[in-house]
C-alpha cells in the first residue's frame, strides 16, 4: 500500500494486531493535530472518543462529528485529516486484506 498511515503518520497511527486476514490500527491524536495524505484499505472503524474532524481528499473537504462507541465502514480511500474539535480523536481501524487475490495467487499451480 502506498502511503501507509503507519509510515506517513507514525506519531498518530500504530499497529496493534496483524495476521494474514486483517491489520488493526489504533489512531490517537490531540485537538489541532493534522495528518499528511495517506491511504486506507476497506476498513471497519470503531470510535473510542467523541471527536470532530475535517477530512481532506482530492475532491475537497468535509467535516465529520462522531461520538464514542460507533462502528462504521470506511471504504478504501486516500485522505488527510485535521482534528478541528476540542477532544482527542481515538479510533480503532480493522483493515481487511484482499483474501480473494491472495488466495487465488497462492493456489495457482503451473509454470513459474
Amino acid at each position: 500500500m502506498k502511503d501507509d498511515p503507519v509510515d506517513t503518520n507514525p506519531l498518530h497511527y500504530s499497529v496493534v494486531f496483524e495476521n494474514d486476514r486483517v491489520r488493526v490500527l489504533e489512531y490517537l491524536d490531540a485537538s489541532g493535530d493534522k495528518t499528511t495524505p495517506h491511504e486506507h484499505p476497506d476498513s471497519v472503524m470503531y470510535t473510542l472518543s467523541n471527536f470532530r474532524r475535517r477530512l481532506h481528499s482530492a475532491d475537497g473537504h468535509r467535516d465529520v462529528e462522531l461520538s464514542a462507541g460507533k462502528a462504521m465502514w470506511l471504504p478504501a480511500q486516500r485522505h488527510s485529516g485535521e482534528n478541528i474539535g476540542t477532544t482527542p480523536t481515538h479510533v480503532i481501524f480493522v483493515e481487511l486484506k484482499d483474501d480473494l487475490e491472495d488466495a487465488q495467487a497462492g493456489s495457482w499451480i503451473g509454470p513459474a
Copy 2:
C-alpha cells in the same frame, strides 16, 4: 451460521453494523452472566472493559482474563461463556464474511 449468537443470546449480543464484507457485534454482560453454546466465524475482538471469563468448548474449558483496549484474533469456533469476574464484559467483534467463497460463486459463468 448455526447458533448465531445474536439468535441464541440476544440479551448479550447485538448487531451494530453489517455489510457484505463484515458484521460487527457488541457483547455486554454483567458479573455472573452466562451464554448458551453459539458459533463465531473468524473475527477480530476488541475489548472495551477489563473482564474475567470461563469459556466452555467441546474440549473442556479455559479461563481468560483480559484488560480493556486489546485487539486479538478469534478463530472460528463454537463455545459458551461465563463471566467469572466482578466486572461487566464489554467486547466488539468484527466478523469476517467469506469473500472468497462468495466471490467465486458469484463470478462463475456456465450452465446452471
